[in-house]
Subunit: 364 residues, 2 copies
Amino acid sequence: MLTDKIKPDTAALSLIREGVRHMQGYVPGEQPIQTDLIKLNTNENPYPPSPAVLEALRAITSDALRRYPPPMSQPLRTCIAEIYDVPVSGVFCGNGSDEILALCTRAYVEKGRKIGYFDPSYSLYPVLASIAESDTVEVTLGDRFSWVDPPLDAGMDLFFLTNPNAPTGMRFPMDRIALFCERFDGVVLIDEAYVDFAEEDCLTLCRRYANVILSRSLSKSYSLAGLRVGYAIGSPALIQALDTIKDSYNLDIVAQRLAVAALTDQAYMQNGVRRIRKTRAWFEKEMIARGFALYPSETNFVWCKPPSGLSAPLYVEALRLRNILVRHFTAERLAPFVRITIGLDTHMEQLLRETDAILEEKHD
Amino acid sequence: MLTDKIKPDTAALSLIREGVRHMQGYVPGEQPIQTDLIKLNTNENPYPPSPAVLEALRAITSDALRRYPPPMSQPLRTCIAEIYDVPVSGVFCGNGSDEILALCTRAYVEKGRKIGYFDPSYSLYPVLASIAESDTVEVTLGDRFSWVDPPLDAGMDLFFLTNPNAPTGMRFPMDRIALFCERFDGVVLIDEAYVDFAEEDCLTLCRRYANVILSRSLSKSYSLAGLRVGYAIGSPALIQALDTIKDSYNLDIVAQRLAVAALTDQAYMQNGVRRIRKTRAWFEKEMIARGFALYPSETNFVWCKPPSGLSAPLYVEALRLRNILVRHFTAERLAPFVRITIGLDTHMEQLLRETDAILEEKHD
């Protein structure tokens, strides 16, 4: 470095922590610049957020931007505590639920202890474990991606449990989850990013067990993926540990105020969820009629396998050529499947038409 | 846990990582709810952000909120790269510069290696080191808080160098900084949160040395403390390491768009900085005339010692009773001093009047 005055990137590389140097970061779904695409690849909500959110946005003043925001997002925590009837000290707010998941790896996992999760599940978990330099326990799901009891003696301090699961869209049986939470001696983070679209949530478990913490997101059911707001509910001791290590002002004032507006309008969110579930039910039937194998979704997407003769990658590519984006994962067990976000009825109708055309071509 | 069905917080405590359990988090300056206070305690800018920022805010649509933001803040990075004539691959954007500092502790520091910083300096650094479970090297500044060469053989992988320094407001000599950067074999993070108010910046150093990364903030000079946007400039290898470990979508769409608007209006920022520097020069003279000892500030605050007979805590308390908030630090070496943010001229006039009254009372 002494002699090398022009930026030598090979020298800089040696400055990077060994574990990070060759690490693969998380790869988010494609965000195309092209605007005439039907975008069913990242589980965004097709409906706009509540009008109350836009009102709150317009009401932001210069003075609010100029000053530091409430460092603990106190008004937002109070709002969430009231909605779910939990103490304010049992609520945490994060810069997206991704921040909450990352903080959990730093708050609850001792050096040398492990982080567990199901395989398949949210592909961010192994990345977070790698950043935290924790070994992992991947618990392979059973036939048709069904629940398997995670081991209790594998040295895990934290288990990420997505429910409903992604990318399969299925909810796990409540009694099996509860039994695991009761027996496991580490922290169970139940990632409920999609739970507003499901039949049942795990709020009772985090009331009952001191080692259970829920995380939720405003990205899907509240149509606010652009805003980056997630929250966690758990025992005050678990929450306080997150507070100790979070960035001082982790949520900006705009995100705090707009999140309060969105959460306060529960009726709007629930109405939007009803519409998506209705579209989902209709769309599932249509896909089954076309020979697709479907899994029972409790989310805002469906997980399906194209009929024999049409591979998932070919189907995804054919849709792409017809300006429809859906998501494909290359991991061996996931490769035969396609994940399709539930969009507007018109989007799904268009997708069905293009699917018919693709199936037609295949037979020619 | 098996028998304890009501949330037992003592049980939950054992779930927290040992190092976090008794850790003291960072304590931000007070954000009072009372609105008639003159707030000179957290170095907020007294002028509003550029009108272009408000325009950008009003232009945010439902659709922008509904979709995921650009995960790498690409438009914002491009804007910054153009302003400073650096490659886009040499720019990182963070959720406040605090996120950047925290990421550095995870990107550049091997297990068992240390994190260094000056004492006194930004009080967040030891907290970040503690979260990263890194030992620290505190380099005590010299007489009148002047530069001291940090040791080169102390096992440090990262050195946090605030320039101008806080809470003293003074800039370190460029040649001493450069020599240290050249000789040090770890990463030097030059924290330039206040640099827009200074005579000179260290951009040339990060162009010259592969181990230097700058962090800056929109909180002070751009009047956007509420928005949480910071950026870093450094070699592509250093930047890429931050990208690998950052949260997938670390900046929301509102923060990204408003930051572009603010940065594009350089003339507005520079004009605001000129006004604050003018107020600072005048205010410094007034305080010296009243017997305060002042340090040469290159920031938007002054660091001063009250005249003999008036202790700093008493002065701060007396101002507080008169509805003026300034900042006091209790660490032994800092306790004789007061940090006063430069506000509007009217704020500083009011502070001088109250100071006169306080000094008067003291003599009665």
